[in-house]
Structure formats: C-alpha cells, structure tokens
Subunit: 356 residues, 2 copies
C-alpha cells in the first residue's frame, strides 16, 4: 500500500536550517550571495528532507511556467501521435512541461474553453497541432490573434501573421508524380484524401500540376475522393477503374488508401507494378510489408514537431527579453521519396526485406 508522503515546503527547510526562507531561495537559485557554509548546510537539509520547490508557486510569482500548451486532434491516428512524440522529446530537452488538450473532432469549433484551460494554467506558449480541416483555421485565427501568449501552428497552411511549421505536401506530391512519370506511367489517377483537408488539396494540386506539366490530360474522371481509410481506397479504385479504364498508375493520398487499392488490385488479379503502379504518402511502418511493398513519400513528423517547439521557445524568450513582437516565420519541410516495389516497372526490383 502506498505510503502518503507530504512534501516539505521552503518554510520547513528554513526553520530546520535556522535561516530565513530567502536564504533557501538563494541556494535553490544558485545565487552567489550565500556563504559557503550556509549553502552547504542548506543543501544537506534539502537532500535530507527530499525537498523540491513548487513549480506552481514559482510560476505564479515569476509569471512564467515553463509549460507549453499543446492542442492536438486525432491521436488515434499515427501522424498526430508521431508529432506529439516529437514535441514531447523537444520539450523535455528544453526543460518544458506539456499541458495537453485533445480536440474531440478535427473541426471542433468551440475552442474558447480549450484555450481557456491552457491559459488559466499560465502556459508560456501554445502549439496548435491540429490539421487544417474545413473552416477550423478561421475559428482559431479569430481567437489566436488576441492571445496573451505566443502561438505556433503545426501542420497548417502558411500564413502571414503567425508562425507555421509544416511538411510541404505539394512538394511531396510533385516528387511522387515525377517518380511515376519517370517509370513510364502515363495514365495516372489520384485517390485524394478528404478535400476539406488542406493537406489533401495540396497533394491533389501537385498531382494535377504534374500532369499538366507533362502535357497530359487531367480530367476530373481521373480523381476520386477518399477519406484516408483503407476501405475508402478500395472503393475509390473500383470507381476509378470504372470511369478511367486505361489507368496504369495511382498516386494515393496516403498509405492506408494505397493499401485499400492494393487489396482491390490483388483481388482483381492485376499485377503491381506491371499493370498498375502505386505510390502512397506517409511512409507508415507497415507500408514496407504490403504485398507488394509500397513506394511512398516519407514525412518526418517527429522532426517538424521539434522545430515547432524550438520556434515557440524562441518567441517566448524573445518576448521575455522585451521584444514586443517577433516576426512570424514559416518553415516548410520537404518530404522524401521512398522507392519500393509497387512502382518499379521493368527495372530491377529491390528485395523488401533487406531495406525495411
């Protein structure tokens, strides 16, 4: 059974050491103006009592909590979790704690209470790591612009007034398409993500622009909207084959959609990559083990999360040093192509095991 242990306060340490609380405070904060003997004695008593200062009381008086508010959505998906993991590592590294709020939905519009919960606990800054879906950016922009602490957007469309750190989804789409075109595919269809997502629109735009640049047709029939899920991928490819029978390759909005497409193609007896080339997006761990293994676009979400943390701490420190406004910055990270079997037509195939 747990032994409830009360935490000693600075007062108890002081009376035990026979000095005032300020002296304890001085020792804690490593101020020079304490005699070596007093310092040593106090430190011993601190250790003996297991005393730790209250970060809460400190936050109150210093007006700085060394805590970051994180707003996130969709932790049941892999992407947001990886982002959160990156944030956690970077925050730990920088000596910040994390106050976490998960939105029940991506397009939650009642965000006042979310901010309130964070601000009333005196966070030093807020990272908004919610994908931009529908109009949810509008709501948050409205609230964010009159906020008492700095804010950084993660995974959102670049903007003028607030710092943004994101993956360059458009660039990623271009890379995927270049690869398919290089492999000789010419009838390339697209299974998009839900088009109220900014990321889905970016990837789709890259698909369309790539076809245009290559002098190819870009009829609406060549694109079907999915919802990121494997099942939507399977349904989408079926529809795609209906309305675009010549299709010889697919750029899928994400790996899970691609998986659904592969599943369908396998069942139809289509050979991948000979009859149909497929490229995904995300590079989820499983994608190296699909049958066939999936060529995809890797986005380093862990890394952008760290950049976001660094950025917000930079802003916090700047404002703390009296700089009233820090110039908003936009950081767009390019993703990279991971070539696997699903798109390698007529070339030497890699062995998936050796590079997973």
């Amino acid at each position: 059974m747990r032994q409830k242990v009360a935490r000693p306060t600075i007062k108890e340490v002081a009376s035990m050491a026979g000095v005032s609380t300020q002296t304890i405070s001085r020792v804690l904060n490593e101020r020079p103006d304490v005699s070596p003997e007093t310092r040593k004695r106090v430190q011993e008593i601190i250790k003996e009592l297991g005393y730790r200062p209250s970060a809460l009381a400190r936050s109150l008086i210093r007006q700085r909590s060394h805590t970051l508010g994180i707003v996130i959505a969709g932790l049941r998906y892999l992407g947001p979790s990886r982002v959160l993991s990156g944030i956690a590592a970077a925050a730990e590294e920088a000596g910040y704690s994390l106050l976490l709020q998960e939105l029940p939905q991506f397009d939650e519009n009642d965000i006042e209470p979310i901010f309130e919960a964070l601000l009333s606990r005196h966070v030093d800054g807020i990272i908004w790591a919610v994908p931009q879906v529908g109009e949810n950016r509008a709501w948050i922009n409205h609230s964010a612009l009159e906020l008492s602490v700095p804010l950084v957007y993660l995974t959102m469309e670049p903007q003028t007034d607030i710092s943004v750190v994101a993956i360059d989804n458009y660039q990623g789409g271009r890379i995927a398409m270049s690869h398919l075109l290089e492999q000789g595919y010419r009838n390339i269809g697209h299974i998009s993500g839900p088009l109220d997502w900014w990321e889905a629109r970016q990837r789709m735009a890259a698909w369309k622009d790539s076809l245009l640049d290559a002098g190819l047709d870009t009829s609406d029939k060549f694109c079907v909207e999915g919802n990121w899920s494997p099942v939507s991928g399977a349904l989408a490819i079926e529809k795609l084959f209906d309305q675009y029978p010549e299709v010889d390759a697919i750029f899928a909005g994400n790996d899970q959609t691609a998986l659904g497409a592969i599943h369908f193609a396998n069942q139809k007896g289509l050979r991948i990559p000979e009859d149909l080339g497929i490229v995904g997006f995300d590079n989820i761990a499983e994608s190296a083990f699909f049958s066939p293994s999936l060529t995809t676009i890797d986005q380093d979400q862990y890394n952008i999360a760290q950049l976001a943390v660094e950025e917000i701490i930079k802003i916090i420190d700047a404002e703390w040093q009296g700089i009233e406004q820090v110039e908003p910055k936009t950081i767009l990270l390019p993703p990279t192509l991971i070539v696997r079997q699903s798109s390698l037509r007529g070339k030497e195939k890699e062995v998936s095991l050796s590079r997973a």
Copy 2:
C-alpha cells in the same frame, strides 16, 4: 500579427465593480451570499473584461489542481496513442487537465525527474501508462510507494499494493488459440513479442497452455521471438519453417508481426488460410486490409484508458474526503476475437470489404 492581450486579474475586476476581491470570488464560485444586484453587476464586468480566474492561483490555495500527470512511452506506436486518446477524452469529460511526460525509452530507469516534474506542478494523481518491460516496474514501484498523490498503473501486471487497469492478454491468447484449434489447425507455432515485455509473456503463456490443454506438443522449436515489427515477423516465420516444417498455423504476437509473416508466406506461394492459418493481436486498422484480411484479437485500449482515469479520480476524491487509503483495485478487461479470412479454413469466407 498577434495582439498581445494581458489577462485581467481579480483585483481589476474588483476595483472596476467597486467591490472587494472577496465578492468577485464569491460570484465566481457561485456562493449564495451575494446580493442579486451585485452578482449581476460583477458578472457583467467579468464578461466585459473577459476575465478568467487563474487556475494556477487556485491550485496553490486549494491544494488541488484538477490536473492529472500522465507518464507514457512509445507514442510512435499505435497502442500508446490510443491509450492517450482515451485518457484525454475521459479527463476532459471529468474536468481535468493533463500534464504529459513521455519516457524516451520503455525501460528508462531515471524516473525521479519524471515524477518530480509532475509533482512540483501539483498534479492530483498520476497515471503510469508505460508497458511493463524488463525491470522497469521495479524502479517505479520503489518510487511510487512513497508518493504524495495517488497512482494508477495502466497496462501492467496486476499487483497487490497499487491499482492496475489492463487488458487480459493471457485471456486474449487463449481466445486466439481456441479459434485456431476449432478451425482444425494442429501444428500451431507462435511468433512472440520481445519476451522482456509482460504482455508478450502473457500471450506466449496462453499459446503454450492452450497446446497443453489440447494434448499437443509444445517444443521450444515451435516458438520464435520477434520484436513486434513486421520485419521481425518475416524473419521469425522463416526460422519457424526451418525448425518446424509441419507448422500449419501461427499465432502472432501482434498484427504487425502477423503482417510480416503474411508477406513471407505470400512470397513463398503458401496459401492462407489453406496451407497456413494466421491470427494476430491488436486489431490495428490496417489488418482488415491485409491480403488476406487478418483474424485478430481486439483490445479496447481507449476503454481501459477511460477506466484508469475514472479509477484515479475516484481515489483522489476519496482521499480528499478524508479516507486515508483506498483499497487498490485490479481491473482486467477481456479482449475479443475478430474473425477474418486468414484463419477461416474450409468455411465460407467473409468478404473483407463488407465488414471493414
């Protein structure tokens, strides 16, 4: 550009309303002893100023923060993320905020600073949601038993002195094995998770006991240790076929390992489920779309997370009401079997699309 907006304090509200801060406090806390007119006037001013009380100051004086400390590890994996999502939802529901600490490794042994970061911020309780790996339970037990706040373990071996909420992994393994045996498989191999994980050992024990109960052989050759990853699954099954050529079914430690095994079997031209039956564990979203779709064990991690939150709040409330020690409780949730194609031998196959 963001407009830095200072938050008003209770003092400003008070002087604006021409009353003392005490009266504001009374209105905030909905005390009866305020005249209707005063109350109304104060409320209007609060709204006008956009005043919100500081949860920090409240925590300090009330000795209660309505904040839960969450210690977690492995957010890059799906399981812990789902757990966190469940915790977040339940905490939100109960009006608690979340202070998050992610361990850099599962078997991190320097946990003092982790606890310290949470306790110095006056969390009301701690949920330890780190899988039990190697000796990490020993370290935490040592620290946990003399803690100033309640603690609940999530996903850990039941114990006598502290409350635990977990999935019954052993039971899950038994269900998986019963299913394979019912389908007529008799040479059932196991690809385990890393055996320093408690969950991996539980699932393996279930595999062994099931074979014993069925009067079947349980040679060590029938089991290969993996590390949860698809690649380890592929390597493990190869080894398994080497040392146990008669194998006609595999109970995989998790879905990703099963995916690696499927990948290998497909490449070898083995038919699943005819030549080889496969059952996984976890029911990840992708598993319904493997080729063939994967029979697996579903564990409701979202749900156990909610139970853990409820449990710790119950303990917090109890201690708050003067009950010194609350009897530790163990909640073991049984997982459920999800039947798909990979194990359905000689029976009518479901169509994976229709039930995904």
